[in-house]
Symmetry: C2
Subunit: 345 residues, 2 copies
């Protein structure tokens, strides 16, 4: 198996490299690819150094699998060429997710969508929607999802390394200002912010991504959450409304979910179902800190919602860099081996 990691020097690419090693993914030859800026720098694989290639100049002849963690534009431009060169591309960006000829896959949920890959590209879902999918799928199977109200608690690493740096810098500059921050937000000086719409340290920002022109006043993050959930869960008309909120957390996306189901499902039965759902762990108080660095979505606060017929509330958290991106991409590749679309070890 010849594997190329594109965007190898970035945040998601770094986690992909470590997940490949941790899971003993059957790699015979590895190549690291990034933008021209990183060409020639060297990164570790299994104790030896591998030189990073410039994506624009690299050929993908002989590559079986590309794990791609670059931007949407890079993916649009280069993924088709990689497929022409003979590779299957598992892409982390939003470039291909809603293309009807591209499967959008969470292996625990819709591995069967890999049966048809007409463009040679498989899309990895948005990190925020992703962490809830292993939880929502078994509930849908048991009782039918009718409506979902979501409020997210999204970590800064969902906005890349730049997001992490922005929070880190603001925390460093304001860490000793607890009293000032308690009495008045405007009394404390923050360094300039460029990644998030407002200061993020000691704050929450109910605005992630940018507004889309759909007349609904929602952001692209909110639209992705709805559109991708529909596609992954196979419920094209799922009623889902979402408020995406950035919080001062480095890693781990959370979401409060209020569900309306087609049929009765008690909190106890939902708990029982989720206790044996793949990719899910029960947690009394699921928090980002507990899931960061792990592979599963934690779910808790499972309770009946009596304000609506067949209502259920719960809170879910998952590592947005692992399950939300790198891990899921590698899991997709493992599924491709299982179904014979990639060479076995």
């Amino acid at each position: 198996m010849r594997v190329a990691v594109v965007g190898a020097t970035g945040q998601a690419g770094t986690v992909i490299r470590s997940v490949l090693a941790q899971r003993g993914f059957p790699v015979d030859e590895i190549r690291y690819v990034a933008s021209a800026r990183s060409e020639g720098s060297r990164l570790d694989w299994d104790g030896r150094e591998v030189a990073v290639e410039d994506c624009a100049k690299a050929s993908f002849d002989g590559v079986d699998l590309v794990l791609m963690a670059a931007g949407k534009g890079t993916s649009k431009e280069h993924a088709p060429r990689m497929v022409e060169d003979g590779a299957i591309v598992v892409d982390n960006s939003s470039a291909w997710r809603m293309d009807p000829e591209v499967p959008l896959v969470v292996p625990e949920v819709n591995e069967d969508a890999l049966g048809s890959i007409p463009k040679g590209i498989v899309a990895n879902p948005n990190c925020t929607a992703m962490v809830a999918m292993p939880v929502l799928a078994p509930i849908h199977k048991a009782a039918g999802l009718k409506r979902v109200v979501v409020a997210t608690y999204q970590a800064v690493s969902g906005a890349g390394l730049a997001g992490v740096r922005e929070l880190e810098e603001q925390v460093a500059k304001t860490a000793d200002q607890a009293e000032g921050l308690t009495l008045s937000g405007s009394a404390v000086e923050y360094p300039p912010h460029t990644v998030f719409a407002e200061p993020i340290a000691h704050n929450v920002v109910p605005y992630a991504g940018s507004l889309v022109d759909d007349g609904l006043g929602e952001t692209d993050e909110e639209k992705k959450y709805r559109d991708e959930s529909r596609k992954i869960l196979g419920i094209p008309d799922l009623r889902l409304v979402c408020t995406c909120v950035r919080v001062p957390v480095f890693c781990g996306h959370g979401a409060a979910l209020s569900l309306e189901l087609d049929r009765e499902l008690s909190a106890a039965d939902a708990t029982e179902i989720l206790s044996c759902a793949p990719g899910v762990v029960l947690s009394e108080i699921p928090t980002p800190l507990r899931v960061a660095g792990g592979d599963v979505s934690a779910v808790g606060r499972i309770r009946t919602d009596e304000t609506v017929e067949h209502g259920l509330s719960l809170f879910v958290c998952g590592d947005n860099l692992r399950k939300g991106a790198a891990l899921n991409a590698v899991q997709i590749a493992e599924s491709l081996i299982k179904i014979g679309r990639l060479p076995a070890a």
Copy 2:
């Protein structure tokens, strides 16, 4: 007007003292009262020092108004005695809020409830529910609230000075651990936590308060939000479900609100109504940092929710120490002057 501030040395009491001064509340004589521990310490009023009295020993003879910011137990024990001594008590604790003979008041919303104060006690609402009330009241008036789904983003100061200290200490100990926190929550050592159920710095904790034994699996914070909203808004059967989440913010509570209304109300009309609602300011991106230190609830992200009939989503933030506690208590006292229950200046 003779005013006693009980709990004067605490977080809410400190803000009450500063709000009284800022608003030029007509104080002829001030007394500061706290627990025995603080007896004899001195606090400023208008440039001179006032000795703090021990609540257990203090008489309230001659006091017109008690602004009480002590715990529930202290309030249960001492408020009736203060009323016997002749004072009106405006109480910040949860001790009296659901008593049918005690008005629970947000002046912009239900000032008329002050028309009957049979026990001589007026209750100040829970800080989390409070900040949404000036926003929900005019929407209810315009289109009727049918169901409300709430996810909160609650600041640590809602749990008192100890909550502020716990976040402050954890931030100080972990401020330089951005990389570790991004890769794995368990890799970073936190100081022990006692106020919140989980570490709060760089984390969110979907568990505020403690579980109540109502068979619904909700916390007392979640129950208070529903019960108090019903009483303040005058909708005894309001369907409201809430998930209370603590976030690493020093001051300012936020909430994502998904509303189902009885009648059509467009996002534009809701915005128009809220633009002239008392105690409310429109904000494109309402954040805790923007409202901390201010007097109004900020509301934004107002948008139509097409997943339900007559649906509306919005995000609201307010200063939990000022509007959520101290300011509202002083506003209640100002209303009591207006209706002749307290002496005018």
